[in-house]
């Protein structure tokens, strides 16, 4: 088993170090320096293999801590502060015992098992034992530390240690039970995905309800009772013996990790990223597919018109919904102001003038075209980019501007509704005049332009998708996240004085202009299938 453990660890650490180098090689600056570095530092990796032990300890601890802290400790201390002494043990009982009962590491599908046991022919029993025991023991150690640091209940000082041992023992018992059920009845919970999800939801739901909604102390009493400790220890010993004595691990791994399942899995996840933009044939009536609809258009504008026509649901429908939604909100606000609460209108007016930083996130939500970009790739460019005529510089630029115009149009409509609504409230209910309104209006339109251009600009410059439908460029995801993050964070900060607005607007317009120029200059080279 030690040899197996050693090999498993080395494979893991090699994979991790390779992934790290792979990532570093993608970073600018370093990319060039490391171009000639290959992955052949195997000897070194062997030596570094030794650090896998502290690495595993730290990462298991961090993972365990994160789960404990976010799902149990934090909720019980903030949401139910006065009842934390009841809430925390209840949550611990549900998360570490009840939830554990419906999961089994041994029967879980895992690509590593497939590769290590079926491809590389490692002995299945050795593999299983060399993964389950060390992993559970690491978890035990990290729980001991976490509990000693954070648990304030319990009948004696080192109570955390006994609780961690109970959890460990119960885990061994659970694994043994799952193995037993599989051995005798071929039962594996992972074959019943729907059931599994329902069970998970029920357990988590009931756990939280009992933790926060009741004052039952029973779980506290169970967890702290010596009988519970002794029972879990006995179950754990039985479980460990069963696991150690179990013979047919090959059958377990073989049946729960077979090639058909793997192929299905691959098929399912192959283009999962594009699932939301897949076009279904039944979405179109014969009327929609009539060929004489766009006879006045030619070439690329014909293609573009058809594309947007077949994506009405994705472009114009959301546009109408957003516009109507905003309009209805303003109408309700106006009615409420006139009929019931006179202060609502002035609040909206003043708020939009003073907290204009909020508009960044609002416009981010309103003008997001990420989904449409995906659709452009999946439903159009993925296939057409293979042809020379479509890749020609002038053709690319023509498509870019045709698309951009449509996107701008779809963003301008809801933006205009928003501008009208805010303008109405500012002019009618505050002392601000028409000239004070101008910077706000300009800001909203500049933001609309910015978000319209940003995504399609990123798409044409990075073209992040590969022909196998993966997102390859880390920058694309990163920059999109950054835009989201900045937009969101701006909600948190107070708005700067309104004199800054021209600068902000100026920046947005300059960005937009530079983006368009960059696409013009670079896209013929960057817009390719990777």
């Amino acid at each position: 088993m030690l040899k197996a453990l050693h090999i498993i660890n080395r494979v893991k650490i090699s994979s991790r170090l390779n992934s790290l180098l792979y990532f570093i090689k993608k970073l600018p600056i370093l990319k060039r320096k490391l171009r000639t570095t290959n992955y052949s530092f195997l000897k070194l990796k062997g030596a570094i293999g030794i650090i896998s032990i502290p690495y595993n300890i730290v990462s298991t601890f961090l993972k365990g801590f994160l789960v404990f802290f976010t799902t149990m400790y934090l909720p019980s201390n903030f949401l139910a502060k006065e009842k934390a002494a009841i809430a925390l043990p209840t949550l611990i009982f549900f998360f570490y015992f009840v939830l554990r009962l419906v999961s089994s590491y041994m029967l879980e599908f895992d690509l590593n098992k497939f590769i290590m046991v079926k491809q590389m022919r490692m002995n299945a029993r050795e593999y299983s034992l060399a993964t389950i025991f060390p992993e559970e023991i690491l978890k035990l150690i990290s729980k001991v530390i976490i509990f000693i640091l954070f648990l304030e209940f319990g009948t004696f000082k080192m109570y955390g240690i006994t609780l961690a041992i109970s959890i460990f023992s119960f885990a061994m018992f659970t694994e043994a039970i799952h193995l037993y059920l599989f051995d005798k009845f071929d039962f594996t919970i992972y074959k019943h995905n729907v059931l599994l999800v329902i069970l998970y939801l029920i357990i988590v739901f009931v756990g939280y309800i009992l933790a926060f909604g009741s004052s039952i102390e029973i779980f506290f009493m169970i967890l702290t009772s010596p009988v519970f400790f002794i029972v879990t220890i006995i179950l754990g010993i039985w479980g460990s013996i069963y696991i150690l004595k179990y013979k047919d691990y090959y059958r377990v791994i073989n049946k729960t990790n077979n090639i058909e399942f793997l192929d299905n899995q691959k098929e399912l996840t192959k283009d999962i990223y594009f699932n939301e933009v897949k076009i279904k044939e039944k979405d179109f009536s014969d009327e929609d597919l009539r060929i004489d609809k766009f006879t006045k258009k030619e070439g690329y504008s014909y293609l573009n018109a058809i594309f947007f026509d077949r994506h009405k649901k994705m472009v114009y429908k959301p546009m109408m919904i957003k516009s109507i939604f905003i309009a209805v909100l303003f109408i309700i606000a106006a009615l409420v102001t006139e009929l019931f609460h006179k202060e609502v209108g002035p609040i909206i007016g003043r708020f939009s003038y003073e907290s204009f930083n909020m508009f960044v996130f609002l416009m981010y939500v309103l003008c997001n075209s990420q989904r449409l970009i995906k659709s452009m790739f999946y439903n159009c460019d993925l296939s057409l980019l293979r042809y020379g005529f479509y890749r020609r510089g002038d053709a690319l630029l023509r498509m870019f501007f045709l698309r951009l115009l449509r996107i701008i149009y779809s963003n301008l409509v809801p933006t205009t509704v928003l501008v009208l609504g805010l303008g109405y409230n500012i002019l009618k209910y505050t002392e601000m005049g028409f000239s004070d309104l101008i910077p706000i209006v300009l800001l909203l339109y500049a933001l609309a332009m910015f978000f319209s251009v940003h995504y399609i600009f990123m798409y044409y410059i990075f073209q992040p998708f590969t022909s196998s439908l993966e997102v390859k460029s880390p920058f694309y995801s990163f920059i999109n996240f950054l835009v989201y993050f900045i937009s969101y964070m701006l909600i948190q900060v107070p708005a700067p004085s309104i004199v800054f607005l021209p600068m902000v607007i100026g920046f947005l317009l300059v960005y937009t202009a530079i983006a368009v120029i960059l696409v013009y200059k670079k896209a013929p080279r960057t817009f390719r299938i990777k």
Binding site: Y22, N38, Y39, S40, L42, M120, R121, N258, D263
Partner: protein, 236 residues
């Protein structure tokens, strides 16, 4: 050495894919398992490799007159879609594979010898498998059975999507090792079957049948096979 299949049956829901497979494969020959798309070639391989359960029947291996049930240790199965760890290099993968299978190794052959054998050059050895083409991944899969040399080798559509050079290299390798093994090679490409294999076994309508060797030389061979497959198809 012989691989004997007896009464192997498999249905999915109410569709019978393999109805009664009886066949004996001999050592030293490369067999082409020829069938149309969806005929059940992969299903038969999956059954032999214990990836899926059979409804009925058994597979045996006789070595030196002694007959025993075919076990997973007796065979290597080269999947049509290679399943390999993306973030290891080819070299590391084979190194670990050799570490694990130490007891089955030929001590005189080094890891670099093996890579030379399948013609993966020095710098490609140390690239991530993630960056390998399908042909290279297939070569790695082949290397696995070249290293442990199991009696039975199953190759599921191995050459269908490979470039000419890789396909030729793999053909050459298979020919070199065939004397010690039973090699079965599934394909739906007739020319490939005729070109590489010693025998052609047709899987149609859930049944295996051996084509007469004399037929291979017959100028009307292709028409005959097409007739055979079509005829049964129209009967269905």
């Amino acid at each position: 050495m012989e691989l004997i299949l007896e009464h192997i049956c498999k249905s999915f829901d109410d569709k019978e894919v393999l109805s009664d497979i009886n066949f004996t494969f001999q050592q030293g020959k490369i067999y082409a398992l020829l069938g149309r798309n969806g005929a059940g070639k992969t299903t038969l391989f999956n059954i032999l490799a214990e990836e899926i359960e059979r409804d009925m029947g058994e597979a045996y291996l006789t070595i030196g007159g002694e007959r025993k049930r075919l076990s997973i240790d007796d065979l290597s199965y080269m999947y049509s879609e290679p399943v390999l760890p993306d973030f290891l290099t080819g070299y590391e993968f084979i190194k670990f594979f050799m570490d694990i299978n130490m007891d089955k190794l030929d001590a005189d052959i080094t890891i670099d010898d093996y890579f030379n054998l399948i013609d993966i050059n020095e710098s490609d050895r140390h690239k991530l498998i993630k960056a390998y083409s399908k042909g290279m991944k297939n070569k790695l899969q082949m290397l696995m059975f070249l290293i442990i040399r199991p009696p039975v080798i199953l190759l599921d559509e191995p050459l269908t999507s490979l470039d000419v050079v890789v396909a030729l290299e793999i053909k050459r390798l298979l020919r070199e090792i065939r004397k010690d093994h039973i090699i079965i090679f599934s394909t739906h490409i007739l020319q490939l079957a005729k070109d590489l294999c010693d025998e052609i076994v047709v899987l149609n309508e859930g049944v295996l049948s051996l084509l007469d060797r004399d037929h291979l030389e017959n100028p009307n061979f292709e028409d005959e096979i097409i007739e055979l497959l079509k005829e049964k198809d129209t009967n269905a």
